[in-house]
């Protein structure tokens, strides 16, 4: 495939790997923020080709994984209500809430539909004026512009039967949370290229300086990731803590200004609970006052929910880079993609699912 296969070619990747080998002099712990990068690393087997001095730990950048259990339970409750159509990205259907998932709600009669874009949910609302259509708006900065656009469009169409259950999260506050932790091991970051395509990377310079870590904007193909790693290693070896861009074909310092404007028009920062991590102040986006009418959390009266996590699941520590999927006693045993105990085993961007799918050779097979 043109413009993709070029970035998956063995020769170019090998060349960058050689440069990494020549540059590195000591062990470094790097975190790739984005679950899409985790997925790509194990899918292409890049982790096996890196020098052993590099330890990659996997970050919290999987929106499905960090969406709080309370919100998932809320979505399950709303989806089970009569006269409601819940539209969601496909990945969310198998994420376990406290006891069930959206698939089981659908099987017991709930109208749950998979959409590929929030604008599809707006269309469903137009086509079903007698139903309440709720879009489960999860995601990082990457999906915020289309979700904001859906609300703007619903408003301009005068759609009163459309609302969103908003669970937006932002990368920079999560980086502060990880770097500010006394347990932090991360010495350098691969920043998420898609997030930066929207937001730019002007927010990362101050973080790099404050915590003395290099942060390099990195893409998703093997060659992109190898180049991101090379740049982080170069900065680490040179003792330079700054934000740099190794994904210049998609990312500029300022980012996509119209998209940022749209986000600012519809959303405002708020505190957000991250599944497995906890409350991170100012880490979310909520609908601004003038769009509150589209907030499904306010529109639907869902009784107080007592969320209950599996006691075995260590997803929280995995998402903070403290542990790896293989450290979990339930991995590949009680917890598999068919019977996930935590969200990191569900999403294709979840670290556990990525390990299970591509790298779990030593773990007993699920039966």
């Amino acid at each position: 495939m043109k413009y993709v296969s070029e970035y998956r070619g063995a020769k170019l990747v090998q060349g960058v790997l050689e440069q990494i080998n020549e540059t590195i002099t000591r062990p470094w712990v790097l975190m790739e923020i984005c679950g899409g990068q985790t997925h790509s690393i194990v899918r292409h087997g890049l982790d096996q080709l890196l020098p052993e001095e590099i330890e990659l730990v996997h970050g919290p950048g999987c929106p499905v994984c960090v969406t709080s259990l309370e919100l998932i339970d809320k979505a399950l409750a709303i989806a089970g209500m009569p006269n409601v159509i819940l539209a969601s990205y496909g990945d969310m259907l198998r994420v376990p809430g406290s006891g069930r998932d959206l698939f089981s709600v659908r099987a017991s009669g709930g109208d749950v539909r998979v959409v590929y874009s929030p604008l599809d949910a707006v269309k469903i609302a137009q086509e079903n004026p007698d139903k309440e259509v709720v879009f489960f708006a999860i995601g990082f900065e990457t999906t915020a512009p289309p979700n904001a656009m859906a609300v703007v469009q619903a408003k301009s169409l005068g759609l009163e039967n459309f609302s969103m259950l908003v669970s937006h999260v932002r990368v920079p506050p999560a980086m502060h949370a990880i770097l500010g932790s006394p347990h932090n091991r991360v010495q350098g970051f691969l920043a998420a290229g898609h997030v930066c395509a929207v937001m730019g990377y002007w927010e990362y310079g101050p973080i790099a300086e404050q915590y003395n870590v290099p942060i390099v904007v990195t893409g998703f193909e093997p060659l992109d990731i190898a180049r991101g790693i090379l740049r982080v290693v170069q900065l680490l070896e040179a003792n330079q803590a700054l934000a740099d861009n190794a994904y210049a074909r998609a990312v500029t310092l300022e980012g996509n200004q119209p998209a940022q404007e749209l986000i600012r028009r519809v959303f405002e920062p708020c505190d957000r609970n991250w599944r497995g991590i906890g409350m991170i102040p100012g880490s979310g986006w909520c609908l601004r006052a003038e769009f509150r009418g589209y907030d499904a959390g306010l529109r639907f009266d869902v009784e107080a929910i007592q969320p209950k996590e599996s006691p075995l699941c260590i997803a929280g520590e995995i998402l903070q880079g403290l542990k790896k999927p293989f450290d979990c006693t339930a991995f590949g045993r009680q917890c598999t993609p068919e019977t996930p105990l935590g969200a990191t085993m569900v999403s294709s961007e979840g670290a556990c699912a990525a390990y299970y799918r591509y790298a779990h050779i030593d773990v007993p097979e699920s039966s």
Partner: protein
């Protein structure tokens, strides 16, 4: 006088309302087992499927065995939305799917029965298009449709049309093909590009925000299989990677044979349009359904001549070797990635494409 006239009822002649004939649409009565069912069978099913065994009209078809050998029997339910998609329809799917299941154990497809569950309201001409496709596919694959059944459900209780088929094939005496027969050193062959059917059906549903110029690969493969046996009587494994895709089928073979399968990522043929659609949707073509492809494990030394005859057949032009069978790690499928790494290929965990077939 005026008032009297208003009260007057003018009778033009006694009439009894004649029932509508429902020639154009399937209604519940077509599944009653009575005259309407009989007429449906005679007008819609008999003409395309006509053969002496079927027309005998007994409760079960009676067939003659061609020669010594064993019989293979398979059954399959077919549901697909939409009923018609680029490259095929549910009728062709029902016949080819059954022919292929038979061919994958080395059987020559012979006889087929089909059970039709029809949702009330299905236009008659659509049903006739389906039976015509079944006829064409049956002729191509050598299947004779020897029996069937028709039921009609109330509206909303079936998705247009479900077809369940049972096929019987005859296995010549010297063939021994099974998913358990893969041996270390075997070459793993595929008959062409992967993922075409799954993406074609998904695109045909019109739910994607883009259009994919992809046709389903739906085809009967028994002709290719016969050609392969002609040059290599000792084919070890044949499988058609339908639902769950190549990855899931290879895991079944690895497990059944207690062997390792090692794929070469760069050798796996994928159409650019399928590759692009998968890339956009976050799918891996290895898990996307095929309906006209086969995987074969053959002794290494026979690989080239088997590939040569596959490439000469109508549905095997892009046949190639995509991997090898090894001893370790037994029961697992690995892939050498394009950049030189190795990854595990696991089975499909759950639903990837909602209801393809």
């Amino acid at each position: 006088m005026k008032d009297d006239q208003q009260d007057l009822v003018i009778i033009h002649g006694l009439v009894c309302p004649r029932p509508l004939s429902h020639e154009d649409t399937i209604v519940l009565g077509h599944g009653s087992g009575g005259r309407m069912t009989q007429r449906l069978i005679e007008k819609t099913f008999y003409p395309p499927f006509e053969n002496p065994t079927l027309l005998r009209g007994d409760d079960a078809a009676v067939v003659e065995l061609p020669a010594e050998g064993r019989l293979a029997v398979t059954t399959d339910g077919h549901i697909v939305s939409p009923l018609f998609f680029p490259g095929g329809d549910i009728g062709r799917l029902a016949v080819c799917g059954t022919a292929n299941d038979l061919a994958m154990v080395g059987a020559q497809p012979r006889w087929l029965t089909a059970s039709f569950i029809i949702e009330e309201g299905l236009p008659r001409f659509l049903l006739e298009r389906v039976t015509q496709s079944m006829k064409d596919a049956a002729e191509e694959s050598g299947l004779i449709i020897v029996g069937g059944d028709t039921k009609v459900t109330e509206r909303g209780k079936a998705d247009g049309l479900f077809i369940t088929t049972t096929g019987v094939g005859w296995i010549p005496a010297d063939r021994n093909v099974s998913g358990a027969n893969a041996r270390s050193g075997d070459a793993l062959l595929i008959s062409g590009t992967i993922g075409d059917h799954g993406i074609a059906v998904l695109a045909a549903r019109g739910e994607l925000a883009f259009q994919a110029d992809v046709e389903s690969d739906l085809a009967p493969l028994n002709g290719m299989v016969e050609a392969m046996f002609d040059v290599c009587p000792s084919i070890h494994v044949l499988r058609d990677p339908t639902r769950g895709g190549v990855a899931t089928t290879l895991n079944e073979i690895a497990r059944q044979s207690n062997a390792a399968i090692v794929l070469d990522e760069t050798a796996i043929p994928v159409r650019p349009a399928v590759d692009a659609a998968c890339e956009m949707l976050g799918f891996d073509p290895l898990y996307v359904a095929n309906e006209g492809k086969l995987l074969a494990c053959v002794p290494h030394e026979d690989a080239e001549k088997v590939l040569a005859v596959m490439r000469e057949t109508k549905y095997g032009a892009d046949a190639c070797q995509i991997g090898i069978v090894e001893d370790d790690p037994a029961g697992r499928v690995l892939m050498k990635t394009a950049i030189g790494g190795t990854r595990v290929i696991d089975v499909l965990a759950g639903e990837m494409l909602p209801r393809i077939c």
